[in-house]
């Protein structure tokens, strides 16, 4: 439904390096790309310090980034119209895999998250982070510009079922991110404030019920958040050690490779979920402000892309993705700062790990696709 790809200079594109470069750059949103590359570079710098004892991880992350950026490039070239067609099948596949995990998934560390496909193991809950906003954006796109209350109810159902499956695995962090991604679509589609207020009140009323459904370790994490000293060796250890790392970093940090908390191995998960503690210790408040600035710039650029998108589908998808990205960053930083519970959300583009990197790069690719195709039919 949106005009087809418009690359000009088809005839000469393979002949000069410059044309080739343009061909590669063409679908990419340059402001977005440059901010992203800066954040990735900062991330590699931090990861180098955090994994100084295990250099293989650094190389693996380089590969993760390469895979992520390639995926982003491929997705950026796909017009949103095509994406629209894949929304429903994608969602159905994701949901089926989630059900399969619940029935026949592999248990790792007490949680049933993985599906063994023989060749490789996959974590279908991760896929839902993208499939969910795609699906809901498609749904509201179909319903037109004035969705009714019933449409919102259907959307909520589409959201709650997979989220509940993920919650049951149990994987609280991912369930919250999927719920967030879906909720953002619903919110941006124009759910009335009154309904949201009512739901919030109901939610508060249901809190004791939710509490009774949480796993013991999840409850403990919430309780320990209020008083980390309760369990200095266990769940509180992460929070205590990461706040010490952050606090001791001071204004300008201890310097790259010189964080004692990081290098004396006081920070657990220092290359994954708690890499921001290493960053804060070595680069200080100045570093944090720089990184926060970069994230804000990234978010701002994505918001501009989303709000200037031509179709309702693109708008909702873009808006949801950017808000999910912001959620990642805020939740992870809040966790390291000791103001949010330890829920296992990585710091976007910085934490070590291929799955999160690819998921986030897919999100960036989708936004770039929206960006690349917005002017074409804007009039």
């Amino acid at each position: 439904m949106i005009g087809h790809h418009s690359a000009h200079g088809f005839k000469s594109r393979w002949y000069t390096p410059r044309a080739l470069l343009r061909q590669i750059i063409e679908p990419l949103d340059l402001p977005l790309l440059s901010i992203l590359v800066t954040i990735l570079a900062l991330g590699l710098l931090t990861l180098y310090s955090a994994t100084i004892d295990t250099p293989a991880r650094f190389n693996a992350q380089l590969l993760n980034i390469l895979v992520g950026l390639s995926t982003m490039w491929v997705i950026a070239r796909i017009p949103p119209g095509t994406l629209l067609r894949y929304a429903v099948p994608g969602f159905i596949v994701g949901l089926t895999l989630l059900v399969l995990v619940a029935v026949a998934g592999e248990v790792v560390n007490g949680a049933r998250r993985w599906l063994n496909l023989g060749i490789t193991r996959i974590q279908p809950s991760e896929m839902m982070k993208i499939a969910m906003p795609l699906m809901l954006a498609w749904f509201f796109h179909q319903r037109g510009p004035s969705p009714g209350l019933r449409d919102f109810a259907v959307a909520a159902l589409l959201l709650v079922v997979p989220a509940a499956l993920i919650m049951r695995q149990p994987d609280l962090g991912t369930a919250l991110l999927v719920l967030g991604a879906g909720f953002y679509v619903i919110f941006l589609a124009g759910l009335s404030w009154r309904v949201m207020l009512g739901a919030a009140i109901c939610g508060a009323g249901a809190a004791p019920f939710v509490w009774s459904m949480l796993h013991d370790y999840q409850r403990r994490r919430l309780l320990i958040l209020l008083d980390p000293t309760q369990d200095p060796l266990g769940a509180g250890y992460h929070t205590i050690q990461s706040t010490i790392a952050v606090g001791s970093g001071g204004l300008f940090g201890k310097g790259w490779l010189r964080g004692t908390q990081a290098h004396l191995e006081f920070i657990p998960e220092r290359h994954t979920d708690f890499i921001f503690a290493v960053f804060s210790e070595e680069f200080g408040l100045a570093g944090i402000l720089l990184l926060s600035g970069l994230y804000l710039a990234l978010i701002a650029r994505c918001m501009v892309i989303a709000s200037s998108a031509t179709t309702l589908f693109s708008r909702l998808l873009g808006g949801s993705l950017v808000l999910t990205l912001a959620t990642y960053a805020l939740v992870n930083m809040g966790m390291v700062a000791g103001v949010l519970p330890v829920v296992g959300v990585p710091l976007p583009f910085i934490s070590y790990g291929g799955t999160a990197m690819v998921t986030l790069c897919v999100a960036m690719g989708l936004l770039m696709s929206i960006s690349a195709h917005r002017q074409l039919v804007s009039s």
Partner: protein, 628 residues
């Protein structure tokens, strides 16, 4: 919500909402910025000192594992302290070079290196891993003088588990071993992982495993000051761990020793139970192994020789060995026949030496060619007449037999406090239909009545059934542990010994069967030789089970093949018959005959337990020619 909105209005609403969300995001970042200013500017000094102090590490302190004692306080498992040389692989740059340099000060042989490499893989480099254990004082002193050359290497005092009785009751005690990936996963699932911080070992088999929760204890924690290299300098504060509880067994080590030696070089199993409580007095599975080999991780040669041994020393034959019970089930079948009214004490058959079913050509033969002549119930037990029982089986039918035998515990786990128990098989019509998808034939019942056919049982089940008979039908839960001693209060918690259930048995029938069992060991009975001049009334029943094929024998050994085809010998016994203090089930693999090899073992055990007679030298058991 319901009024019509144009696409343009919708777009505007979207932008307003996204703008609102953007403000929330900005507010979020601002809140975080405030928090970071608070941490990094206002509280910076405080956290700086905490980071400096973070030379103060909170380390878990592992609890001392509880002891395992026999009923007289003889130690079966204990701990001793020794120094180990440990390496923190994450902080050592060149591991092979460091180990080479270390080996110049302290002996490190190839076996130590292999084990270290394996432990390193298992722990994936987290924490310190021992390269040498049990350092001598001299070795400790030599390393201390050169410690500065070895950052990341340290001497630690650790507690080691030791089984001073070595192979004695090895299958009961079991052993501990390094916590494996699988153990960790299980602990995580049971939410017990917190209790294992700082602990490297966990019970793997035997009581060490089933009583893991009692034996383990609760870890403490200590605040330890460490230098930049990660070496501990001094302990500032500590919160003591709670040691594990001791467990006290019903087992009598000396009786166990007599019973084990009584087997000589035979393979087999023996379980002796105190009928009035269900407490296990002796629990033998021969051959056994030395659990000490497993504590620090068994080396490949020893593992090879244990695991690939034709004699299967690691198999707990008493609990997991499934054998046809043979004629030892006759007293129970006799009780079933009397109780059901199918037989009276006077009922007599003329035994031609075989049994036939109408319309079936097959002859079920008695072990005695030509038969036993006129046989009543009493003779059927003392002479072990097969034909008499073929008739009972046919008259009662499989399900009636199943009903009585299952009450004695056949076909089901006894529930002993050890893992790995097998159920054996007490067949029934329903079982055959379900498992083999076949109808039960009348002919299937005939061999079951003499403990053959589909019927199999474990030595444990034989002991429990015999104890129940000795106890006039009162069933107790068999158990190995009688007290758990709280490590803090010293209080001894008794393991409950209430009867599980009572089997309704007429005292007249009980007396008759018991009397016949006493006569088994008297002149005229099958085990008269083993019972000669016993100073107490010795009730028993012999049995012999055919070995159809070599079980578990993957290796072909021509010299022993004949022996391994020999029948299994069985014996059940209790004494004194009028007031039984001990009941047992005995199995001797390829022993030939129950009365020839298994009954003399029972006699030795009873003589020791009832009279205190310690056999000076164990007589060589002779596999007699097959009789029953």
């Amino acid at each position: 919500m319901t009024q019509w909105v144009t696409p343009e209005q919708n777009r505007t609403r979207f932008q307003v909402r996204l703008g609102f969300a953007g403000l929330v995001v900005i507010a979020g970042f601002c809140t975080l910025a405030v928090r970071f200013v608070f941490l990094q500017v206002i509280e910076h000094e405080y956290y700086m000192t905490r980071a400096e102090d973070n030379r103060i590490a909170v380390v878990p302190v592992a609890p001392t594992r509880g002891l395992i004692l026999d009923r007289n306080g003889v130690v079966l498992a204990r701990n001793y302290s020794a120094y180990t040389l440990e390496i923190n692989a994450a902080t050592v740059r060149d591991l092979p070079a460091t180990i080479d340099q270390l080996s110049r000060i302290i002996t490190i042989d190839a076996r130590d290196r292999n084990r270290f490499r394996r432990l390193l893989d298992e722990t994936r480099g987290a924490g310190t891993v021992p390269i040498r254990t049990r350092l001598s004082d001299e070795e400790v002193a030599r390393f201390a003088a050169q410690r500065f050359r070895f950052p990341g290497v340290e001497i630690k005092a650790r507690l080691f588990r030791e089984y001073p009785q070595r192979t004695l009751a090895a299958h009961v005690v079991g052993y501990i071993g390094r916590i494996s990936e699988r153990d960790l996963q299980r602990l995580d699932e049971e939410d017990l992982a917190a209790g294992y911080r700082g602990t490297d070992y966990i019970g793997k088999t035997g009581l060490e495993s089933t009583y893991e929760r009692e034996l383990h204890g609760t870890p403490g924690s200590a605040e330890v000051e460490i230098d930049a290299g990660g070496h501990p300098l001094r302990t500032l504060r500590s919160n003591s761990p709670v040691p594990g509880n001791n467990i006290e067994l019903t087992l009598d080590t000396r009786l166990q020793d007599v019973a084990e030696r009584a087997f000589g070089s035979f393979r087999g199993a023996l379980v002796a139970i105190e009928p009035s409580s269900g407490g296990v007095l002796a629990f033998v599975s021969r051959p056994a192994f030395d659990p000490n080999l497993f504590v620090e991780g068994i080396d490949p040669q020893n593992w090879e020789s244990l695991n690939n041994n034709v004699d299967r020393p690691l198999t707990n034959r008493a609990l997991a060995g499934v054998y046809p019970p043979g004629s030892t089930v006759k007293p129970f079948i006799a009780l079933a026949a009397l109780q059901s009214g199918r037989r009276t004490l006077e009922y007599t058959i003329a035994d031609p030496g075989y049994f036939t079913l109408p319309g079936v050509t097959h002859r079920w033969r008695d072990w005695k060619e030509g038969g036993h002549g006129m046989v009543n119930l009493h003779h059927s037990i003392t002479q072990s007449c097969d034909t008499y029982y073929y008739g009972i089986g046919n008259d009662m039918g499989i399900d009636a037999l199943h009903g009585m035998l299952s009450q004695f515990g056949f076909g089901d786990k006894s529930g002993l406090d050890l893992d790995g128990e097998r159920t054996g098989l007490l067949p029934s019509q329903a079982w055959k239909m379900q498992k083999l998808k076949q109808k039960w034939f009348a002919g299937d019942t005939i061999p079951v009545a003499i403990g053959q056919g589909y019927f199999t049982a474990t030595p444990m089940q034989l002991a429990v059934a015999t104890a129940t008979l000795a106890n006039n039908g009162v069933v107790y839960q068999p158990h190995l542990v009688r007290y758990v001693q709280d490590s803090r209060s010293g209080e001894r918690r008794a393991v409950a010994t209430d009867p599980l259930r009572r089997i309704t048995l007429d005292p007249r029938w009980l007396d008759a069967v018991k009397q016949a069992m006493v006569d088994v060991t008297r002149p005229g009975g099958t085990a008269a030789v083993a019972g000669r001049d016993a100073a107490y009334s010795f009730a028993g029943k012999s049995g012999t089970a055919q070995v159809i094929a070599i079980r578990q024998g993957e290796r072909y050994d021509a010299r022993r093949i004949g022996e391994r085809y020999r029948d299994h010998a069985l014996f059940v016994a209790f004494a004194p018959a009028e007031n039984p203090r001990i009941a047992m089930g005995i199995l001797v693999e390829n022993g030939g005959s129950g009365s020839g090899t298994a009954a003399p073992i029972a006699r030795l055990v009873l003589d020791y337990y009832l009279l205190g007679k310690v056999p000076a030298s164990m007589p060589e058991l002779q596999p007699a020619a097959a009789e029953e």
